[in-house]
Amino acid sequence: MDDLYRDYILEHYRRPHNFGVLEAPTTSYEGSNPLCGDRITMMLGISDGVVREVAFTGRGCAISQASASLLTDEIKGKTVAEVEEMTPDDLLDLIGIDISPARLKCALLSLDTVAHALADDAAKQAEAQGQTQA
């Protein structure tokens, strides 16, 4: 049947893993693809440089939501450095289906949102460090 809509993709869409909110995330970021209306908020709980907890909320197409479900499974327990090193190709491998150019933005929104959340966290820490030094 349809390569893009394999059972496991639809399963992740219908019952996404890690869907929900963290009470006190270390960092969170809301990413969106305004053109298609995909929207994802990523929340990360980080301690000692490790992503201990992760959750997301959002709405969008099956590809964007399944991608977020798979990605959050993948990064839980990884170090921040490992997550930062993840490339779009790593995520596409994880999703495991051929994504047409028109849908790449849907597939990669989750990773892009995680990257923004981590960048925000890094900026916050740099600022805090600057303040303690001053």
Binding site: M1, D2, Y5, L10, L35, C36, G37, R39, A62
Partner: protein
């Protein structure tokens, strides 16, 4: 939408017989198939229309036989190019019953036409505290240029809200007119809801309040008779590529005295009468607004498209599309369980049907339909505020044109049931 049955009996099924089949043969792209060998079911005409052979030939002939610049050369093919280009202007003027071809300014598309008015007329006529009235159903092209203008001039935008059925609330419009707006700008036909707005009535109201009226006719001109004199409007804009013409063609119509009073929008060659090092005199209208070499072949194609539509007859075009939209509303509601349809009843709309399947994102809908060769639009259709109004992230949209047939709408319904099946399994 209780009057569906009455509206479908008004249409003339006989008109969609052999005529329509031979008309489909005019569009070479309809003979093509997709990568799965499925015939093209093109239901995205509101984004851009397909092109008939007559239009393709007209644009092609320019490139093959008389490719030369207009309004300049003294030689044979240059004269032929100028004649064809100005002939296209006359055809486009006739299509909308403009009083004279000189009131038609050729532009790339409706977006450029609105920007032209916003920059040229708007910068001269909109000042601090002046208001412009728009509606909640505008395409971004008839919203963002006005946002830029009022930001620069410290003016205000006001919006006519819509009902849940997608109709403009004229009682609110009446109240907004008490603000004495300088301009009222709205779409003739909504590209998402399909709503056909009461242009003449609203224009009379606006004029009584002292406002000028600009109409975005991108979704109207190719689909119904449009008579700018009868509508009584001041500016009317439309794209060629939505009316069977090549991309890169479009038109602004405005009353002569408005165009003559407006300063140039773009400056350069062809728009001047005399150029000195420190000053210039402008050319006559419409050339005053046509700086630089235009997309000559596309505009010649637009003239051919206007002739093609007039040969079918715009009444027949409207009847056909009305029949298609009434049929689509009926079939989709009956055969696709749970489908959400947006917009007014068939008798108040053009050939546009926007919808959602519950719990399924329109991108997924469009992607699965694509396998069957069915092309629909998925997204916000350049109407984000309108989607916000209905609390929608996005919608899918099927839109029709002179070549649309019932079988294609049946294919859409079948395809949508397949989408639901895939997501429900």
């Amino acid at each position: 939408m209780s009057d569906l049955s009455t509206t479908s009996t008004q249409s003339r099924p006989a008109a969609a017989g052999p005529d329509l089949r031979s008309r489909r043969a005019d569009f070479p792209i309809l003979a093509t198939t997709n990568r799965h060998g499925k015939p093209l079911v093109y239901l995205d005409s509101a984004a851009t229309s397909l092109k008939p052979q007559a239009v393709i030939d007209a644009a092609d002939a320019y490139n093959r036989e008389y490719s030369s610049n207009i309004h300049r050369g003294i030689y044979e093919i240059a004269e032929r190019a100028t004649t064809a280009y100005e002939g296209a202007r006359a055809s486009v003027a006739k299509l909308i019953n403009a009083p004279e071809p000189a009131e038609i300014v050729f532009v790339r598309n409706a977006t450029e036409a609105i920007n032209l008015v916003a920059y040229s007329w708007g910068r001269r006529n909109i000042g601090r505290g002046d208001s412009i009235v728009l509606t909640e159903m505008e395409h971004h092209a008839n919203l963002v240029p006005w946002q830029l203008l009022v930001q620069e001039k410290d003016g205000d935008l006001e919006f006519v809200p819509i009902t849940d059925d997608g109709l403009l609330r004229l009682e609110v419009f009446e109240v907004l007119l008490h603000l004495k707006p300088k301009l009222v700008a709205f779409t003739h036909v909504s590209n998402m809801l399909g709503t056909v707005n009461p242009v003449r009535e609203m224009t009379e109201m606006a004029h009584a309040a002292g406002a000028l009226v600009l109409i975005d006719g991108a979704q109207a001109v190719p689909h119904m008779p449009v008579d700018v004199q009868e509508l009584g409007v001041d500016f009317y804009v439309f794209s060629g590529h939505k009316m069977l013409a090549p991309t890169g063609s479009g038109a602004l119509w405005a009353r002569r005295e408005l165009l003559e009073a407006m300063p140039p929008f773009m400056a350069g060659g062809d728009m001047i009468r005399e150029v000195h090092l420190r000053r210039s005199d402008w050319n006559e209208i419409p050339w005053k607004f046509e700086a630089g070499t235009p997309d000559i072949s596309a505009q010649i194609g637009m003239g051919a498209a206007a002739e093609y539509l007039m040969a079918i007859g715009l009444d027949a075009v409207r009847d056909h599309e009305h029949e298609m939209v009434a049929y689509a509303l009926e079939v989709l509601r009956r055969d696709v369980p749970g489908i959400e349809l947006y917009g007014p009843a068939a008798d108040r709309r053009g050939g546009v049907v926007s919808f959602n399947l519950p719990g399924i994102h329109p991108h997924d809908v469009a992607q699965i339909l694509d396998r069957s060769g069915i092309c629909v639009r998925a997204g916000h259709h350049c109407t984000m505020p309108l989607h916000e109004r209905f609390d929608l992230a996005a919608s899918a949209r099927a839109s029709f044109n002179v070549y649309t047939i019932r079988e294609e709408i049946d294919a859409l319904a079948t395809g949508l049931r397949e989408v639901a099946r895939i997501f429900d399994r």
